[in-house]
Symmetry: D2
Subunit: 342 residues, 4 copies
């Protein structure tokens, strides 16, 4: 079976496991107050050119999203998010459980939010019988593989700052976004244009963990307490620091992301050559081919994948996701198998 | 100035004030445990043919909505509501502040929800990474004046019961809905087809107050405690019982609603005769004429009203609301004034 | 039956009813944006010598307490309160339902909090695995009738300011506190020593309503939205403004409180003369005589009252509460009846 | 330096690391739907003789506590817990952030709750202006090392069942509790006497993870959704299943716990022989010697530990915690070092 279900279906990269093994017997202070977390945080601050940033290691993405939003907002404030945003669907109402409304706005198929959509919500919410929008949530890459270009992120950032809105970037797949073919964004760009964002580990080589970077100093107060309150403080916090250091210090993180993106792009190109259209042209590690419905039982036999949505009566959009563990031989094998389906 | 801003811009009907005055000096037990609340509740149970119902007097609509929803749902459960539903906008995120996601669905201009829209949400939410829809919120009349016919409510009720969903009806303007020209719904119908609903007092002759009728016995447990917790228990609870008895015992409630509806219908007819189109043809006490933009400053001089939304570049939808206090002379005066604007 | 169950068992003072009646037919803008609320707020600002204060009319005490606390605190922050504080017991977990821990501290029988108790909590909570105390809740009068002297409130205020704590005063019975025999506190004192407090109407002549005075300008932002969100915005908001103006403009408020206090003090003195000890010597309108258990069935026949707690195997503490409606003849009658029980 | 700060200061037991390493490269389905979690859950159900139990792997203790409590309770319901209970202090208000009041009751120094204390709360809370107690939280071992005997747990269980209360047992240190010298409780006992409990991994050989066992079928509904909502679903969920299987299948879990307990008991005995009194006689892996204040700087040089509380002006209670990684030579070295301090 070829594995295209998601990018978190194997443990961690061998170098990460090696680093965890090396430190396993050592006695370390708990709750993230250790030198491994400090080392990783320093590295991230340096890579982001954001010496003022607070770096908080979180166990997973849902947790990072709702803990940050709960920490940053007052009770009457709400979140503007693309309708396809992860927080708006696949987190089981975590943001609402923390008391905040998500005002979702429709986007193009690539899932990217625009200043115009934000402004329209801001305008409507001047009415004080509504919540006050205070934070804009975007993800890069988006849930449909889209990436923001530098000019786009600058425009969003400017729109947010002019309207008293925080800009929060969900970077569960940030590695792949920054490794996309025409990407022109850098970590320092993101650190200077957003108020907080995270560098996803779970989907790019770590066993688990996301590094939340809170660049706005006014948002840093009290964060440890709310993190503890929301169950996001790992007793053995150093496990996260050790992993991020292993991933980030010699460029492993971007090497892994590039492998995932390269494999997805190779596969996408190959599928197009086989005549399969795409729901959206994705530059990252998630691709969305539209297949005839009768392909589905055959796909079930050769690979893991996800059914995304109906395209029309006789066609279905499926999602293939690659990861650092995907090989060229996996991609070639997959293309061959699909060719045989026609 | 003619008063068409809303249906809660005068105090209460004189008979209600008279009843409050009559009881003012009497010493009564607090928190709604008094005989006036019991009398009103008994009357409501009888009118609804729902002897098993728990009747809880609430101070206002937002409070009734979020307290009931908070009481009925478990933390992972969500609400399906029309996008135009009051809870989805003009309650400042009250339902989300209670921890629950509202899944809003688009509707026709009349704001009425359909079983098809419900089913589509139910289908999508079978995925356990999403919230579980558990309650369907509708309002009758809707926020744009629409009313549900009996067949429609039966279809919604059946759809809900088949899918494990509670049906909750916001009756802030229930009096007007049941007094609409072609209405075929009755209180007993509503009591038997929904799990809970309320009979709005604030907008139909009371000083304040809504009578929440919880027909489903399994939803009644613990309600007093959560009502207290959400600040919805009035110390002098009998003030609500006294008002509802005054409104309901001799049919005053429906007489007042009919007056409001009659005046709105008369006004709507007159405006149409003057050539003004309506955003939606409303059978209740809120009407939505589309006026040329240059009418707006002139309207500001003759009446209170609300700007609803833009119709096109040169036209605006405005909202006129009538109440029990609206007279034929108000309506005629208004028509005359508008005729003069053309 | 003599009425000593509580101070909210009759409607409102006749002058308040008169004022409500006078305005009943008038069309007024909703949600507290009217001139009656403005007039009352201006009057309160003037009486408090606090021109910067935001005055928000709330419907009841539980609502005032939890809405203010929810508005003022961040999610990881907690409240320090006397164990006997109303929010810690009789509000059905309203503060916790808004997400905040109450750290309760024991007090003397009079229910008064001391700086020492606050400091001990602050010290313990330096540990970041605990919540951060941010607001100190006191009530004046307390739940057992105690009042704070000016020196005591100054000491609490200073302690709070030195430790980054807000001081919030629940004034459900503020009228009686300020009318207590040796009271030396004034409204301007309270306004300058606390960050927010309220002037209770429900228990002192209003039909319902509390006037929340937010003196600290940094706490005022967003308050209308959260008030709406928590169901605390009365559609016909002017009803509250009208009542507070009626109560405050000619000193009626303090006249009513003085009557309640005088009657309670007269009764307390009389009961002591009859040989009944008090659980606590109360200077306000709630008194707590300790009676032999065999008095209880006799009391049930002559008056309404509350059983407070067991004193010992054969004695019970009961609570008698007076109000503006209590007359000298009620007090005398009561004393006579109790004398007859011995 | 001897390590006695806590029982979560090293990674995991080598066999656990070995198991994680063995599965690292394998592609596994996410979110705990995998065969490793199933294997571990089956093993736990068998060990507990509770075939009906739902086993949910959680990442940490705070998360397990508040997610379970949030899932089990309705908004107006509260928790009864010992004042020293972990949820009442060191979880930064997590239960209150989920909306529920904790009613804390004082206990003996061993931290054990009694039926009498529960009954007294139940009695007081019959008043519907208070929250309704619905769940009793205990921990075994307690935060001060105490363990419940079978008769005690039976009495608590009976008290809970008679009063409509759920019994929840925090088993962060369950291994040590069940390995304590005179313990007579078994996993099947706990499974049959409680409604839910967890088997702690983090503090007994796992890298991280707690196995929550929900024995009451009526509490199992919707648990995956709320777990997702609270950030408690690990994307690579199998990491938890793999660890619990490694710990539980050949008795490793109890072997590790016994080592921790033996070392603590040996140390406690030795310290007593040196003339040091204990705050409480602990049968588990946490001990609480009372040392002269001038020992503290010397202790800082030889070991890690925690200062627990003041004993008197000149003495301090300290906490030493052992773990599976503590050796006899550590204990002997420590005793020698302390002997030298006198």
């Amino acid at each position: 079976m070829y594995q295209f279900r998601n990018d978190y279906s194997v443990g961690c990269h061998p170098k990460v496991l090696e680093a965890l093994t090396a430190v396993n017997a050592e006695s370390v202070i708990g709750y993230g107050a250790d030198r491994y977390c400090k080392e990783a945080a320093d590295l991230i601050r340096a890579m982001c050119q954001a010496p003022q940033a607070d770096v908080q290691f979180m166990i997973g993405g849902t947790q990072a999203n709702f803990t940050a939003i709960a920490a940053f907002l007052r009770p009457w404030e709400s979140v503007i998010a693309p309708a396809s945003g992860h927080i708006n669907g696949h987190e089981a109402g975590a943001v609402e459980a923390a008391g905040h409304k998500i005002i979702s706005v429709p986007t193009a198929a690539n899932g990217k939010l625009t200043p115009a959509a934000i402004l329209s919500v801001v305008e409507e919410c001047k009415d004080e019988h509504l919540t006050k929008p205070r934070l804009v949530y975007i993800s890069n890459a988006t849930e449909t593989g889209g990436v923001y270009f530098k000019g786009e992120l600058e425009a969003l950032s400017q729109c947010c700052r002019r309207n008293g809105l925080l800009l929060f970037l969900d970077g569960a797949r940030l590695g792949c976004a920054l490794s996309a073919p025409h990407n022109d964004l850098t970590l320092p760009d993101i650190a200077s244009l957003t108020d907080a964002f995270y560098i996803g580990g779970t989907k790019n080589g770590a066993m688990m963990g996301e590094a939340l970077v809170i660049t706005d100093p006014t948002l840093q107060e009290g964060f440890f307490r709310i993190k503890k309150q929301r169950g996001a403080v790992l007793a053995k916090g150093w496990l996260l620091g050790v992993q991020f250091t292993a991933l980030l210090k010699d460029g492993l993180y971007f090497k892994l992301a590039r492998q995932a993106v390269d494999m997805a792009q190779y596969l996408q190109g190959g599928l197009k050559n086989l005549g399969l259209p795409m729901m959206v042209d994705s530059p990252t590690n998630q691709i969305f081919p539209i297949v005839p419905n009768d392909f589905l039982p055959k796909l079930d036999e050769v690979c893991t994948y996800e059914t995304w949505c109906k395209a029309d009566e006789s066609h279905t959009v499926v999602r293939f996701v690659t990861s650092f563990a995907t090989t060229l031989s996996d991609a070639d094998g997959m293309l061959k198998a699909i060719k045989a389906m026609s």
